[in-house]
Amino acid sequence: MVDERKQIGSGGRAGRGNRQVSPSSAARSLAGASAASTPGQKKTGQKKTGQKTGQKAATPKKAAVDAKKSAPAAKAAAPRKQAAPAPKSSTRKPAAKKAAPAQKAAASPKQPSAEAPPSSRPHLRAVTDDDAAAAAAAAAQEAERRTKSAGAPIPAGIPLDDILSALLGAFQRVMGSDWEARLATLLHAVRMRLSGEYEVDEFGFDPAIVEVLQNAVEPIAEKWFRLEVRGIENIPADGGALLVANHSGTVPVDGLMTGYAVHKYTGRHLRPLGADLVFALPFVGQIARRMGATLACTEDAERLLTGGELAGVWPEGFKGIGKPFTERYKLQRFGRGGFVSSAMRAQVPIVPVSIVGAEEIYPLVGNVPSLARLLGLPYLPITPFFPLLGPLGMIPLPSKWIIEFGEPIRTDAYEPEAADDPMLLFNVTDQVRETIQQTLYRLLVDRGNAFF
């Protein structure tokens, strides 16, 4: 069969003319002839071509599989089905569409045999170069006709097949080979969302939202911030742990990035503990709850930790996130050490997390305390770009990020009652703070320039 194809093939690339005649002119003559043919002649012609295609079906299939491994076999076989009833131009489009997933090289040889009925010549004949050209050209003609009515002419040099095959190829590349199953899953998921058939836990945490967010954040984290994560093995694979991190960057992007890193490398969900302002703000509070955040209070922290969750806390709070750029990477006071007592009561380890890079995303050079007070915010940031460039100023600067998860500080050596010993709490708080501060200095040296 392959030999036969060699015979009927030509020197030129299929569907591109034979270097002497341009496809459109060859096709015009052929198309005119076929249009003028009688129905009776056509029937015999079609029948024979149909048989012939049946024999040949394996070839395009093989070619298609070779050309694109992921293309489903059903698609490659499709032209065979189309060949038998082939009425002239009405099936041309579907046939072209089905053939399109296969690569052009494979699609073109089988097209003429399937579709261009050599009605003027009733005999079984080899498919010539002209036929191949005719198929492409007729498609181009039709495209021309269509676009004329639509009012946007496509240059005659690009046949509709090419565009279609490119589109379908792109679609397949984006969706993968099992796109039908994936589309069905997606639609099902959308339906479930719309009908409210999803579960949230008692904190209002919605894991499906986190998956979506994870994909949305990935390019920002990997391409924009070039996030580097170290010491991921320090996060326990199961059971509760309290992640304690430094806070910076005017807007709590560091919380988002830490959650992203934890979920990406361990598959676990980080449950951030946020200030009450987060939950008082419209939309912000709603999204924060869905992401699994809850209020930074002893009750919630202990509930999460005893439930075996990973809780994240930023004890510097607004003092850390809203500090001026000149004080970057200088840790502020670590709250009142409430996080240590929570971890001790729940008997879970404390993992110090050092985040480098967040300080540079929005360098805070000024503050408008009076306006902030008016709006009920802890500070109103002025960055070199923020009010000046308007919305453009809200784009974070592309600093290089490093997040290091330090060695866990175990609290199960102490009794749960030790949580009532303030001196011990201060000591452990200082230990955590010092660890993070020293790691920050080390990471800063490692990172070098903040942006390159």
């Binding site: 339906r191 479930m192 969302r193 719309l194 009908s195 409210g196 058939e197 999803y198 949230v200 836990d201 008692e202 904190f203 209002g204 009450d276 302002l277 939950f279 008082a280 703000l281 419209p282 939309f283 912000v284 509070g285 709603q286 709850r289 869905r290 809850t294 209020l295 209070c297 009750e299 919630d300 509930r303």
Partner: protein, 331 residues
């Protein structure tokens, strides 16, 4: 020991259901611990009270003391603490009934030598609702944002009077049951009235967590606290939470996001236009929501709620008319 139970506020559906349940128990089983049930209210109840003896009395007056003395009551179930609704009572008169009624009732109980147990039907509204709330309230916690007015304030006041009574009469057992709202089309609860609106006005940018309790669970808990000694304060609610947006989708009702400023007025107007009645305090709950921890109910009280919040909601959904968007879902 067989008890004579006084139930207040039996003109309300839930209180009458509790009274009837106790009366049925007394009829069915003489050893159940309940021998007689007396219901009091200022108005005659619409429905048949079965084996409950109805006495028309206003608990805001000292008459209730006479009822306790005459009927030889030893257990008082106080269920006349209700959120006001517009068609029934205005804000000030519902406060009058809630707070003054409780004061009079407790005063009568303090004088009485027969009363040995008081069961108070309070509400989880005592925890208020604010952005400073923990995810789940335990019984030991107080409202974070403070309760300023309306029914939550009434409930807090009623509870504090009851605790004062407990100090003065340490021999009387006090059970305070903080119940989440039951979601039943037959009961006049603010949230079920709200959820029956064809369009649900919501506060833009907020998605409260809501919790419901099943009537069966509530009846069982009240009965248990009458027939057994369960002193203390307990939260009663179904496990888990449901977000308001999720609830609206499950019901197939579209939501109408409105700005937080002026939401209360808009909510009232829309509810009024839709022909339903909204409790004046509901708009606060619709902003931040509230959820409670029921581990004390399990561990100390010894009752395992049979229905989760999702179960309660699902039953409610089947009972009410489906919303206009119900066709979109998987059902």
């Amino acid at each position: 020991m067989s008890r004579t139970v006084l139930v207040t506020g039996v003109a309300r559906r839930f209180a009458s259901a509790v009274a009837r349940h106790l009366a049925d128990l007394a009829d069915a089983d003489p050893d159940s611990g309940v021998s007689r049930v007396i219901g009091v209210d200022t108005v005659v109840p619409d429905e048949d009270l079965g084996g409950v003896k109805f006495v028309r009395a206003d608990i805001r007056t000292p008459v209730v003391g006479k009822v306790i003395a005459v009927e030889d009551v030893d257990t008082v179930v106080h269920l006349d603490v209700n959120p006001g609704s517009r068609n029934r009572l205005s804000g000030s008169s519902s406060k009058e009934l809630n707070v003054i009624g409780t004061m009079q009732l407790l005063a009568a109980c303090q004088r009485s030598s027969t009363v040995t147990k008081v069961v108070l039907g309070s509400s989880t509204a005592v925890y208020g609702t604010s952005p400073r709330d923990p995810a789940m309230f335990r019984e030991s916690m107080a409202a974070r944002g403070g309760v300023r007015s309306g029914f939550p304030k009434d409930a807090v006041d009623v509870e504090s009077y009851t605790r004062g009574f407990a100090r003065r009469r340490p021999d009387v057992l006090i059970t305070i049951l903080r119940t989440a709202q039951a979601l039943d089309p037959d009961l006049e609860m603010p949230l079920s009235a709200y959820l029956r609106n064809p369009v649900l006005p919501v506060v833009a940018g907020y998605d409260p967590r809501l919790q419901f309790a099943h009537v069966e669970d509530l009846l069982a808990v009240f009965t248990e606290s009458v027939t057994h000694d369960r002193p203390g304060t307990f939260n009663v609610a179904g496990d888990g939470v449901i977000m308001l947006s999720q609830a609206a989708r499950r019901l197939g009702r579209p939501t109408l996001p409105l700005p937080a400023l002026g939401f209360a007025g808009a909510l009232n107007r829309i509810a009024h236009a839709a022909g339903s009645d909204i409790s004046p305090d509901l708009h606060r709950l619709l902003k931040y929501g509230r959820a409670v921890d029921t581990s004390a109910l399990r561990d100390i009280f010894g009752y395992e709620p049979k229905y989760t919040t999702a179960d309660v909601f699902e039953q409610f959904r089947q009972q009410v008319r489906p919303g206009i968007l119900a066709g979109i879902g998987v059902r």
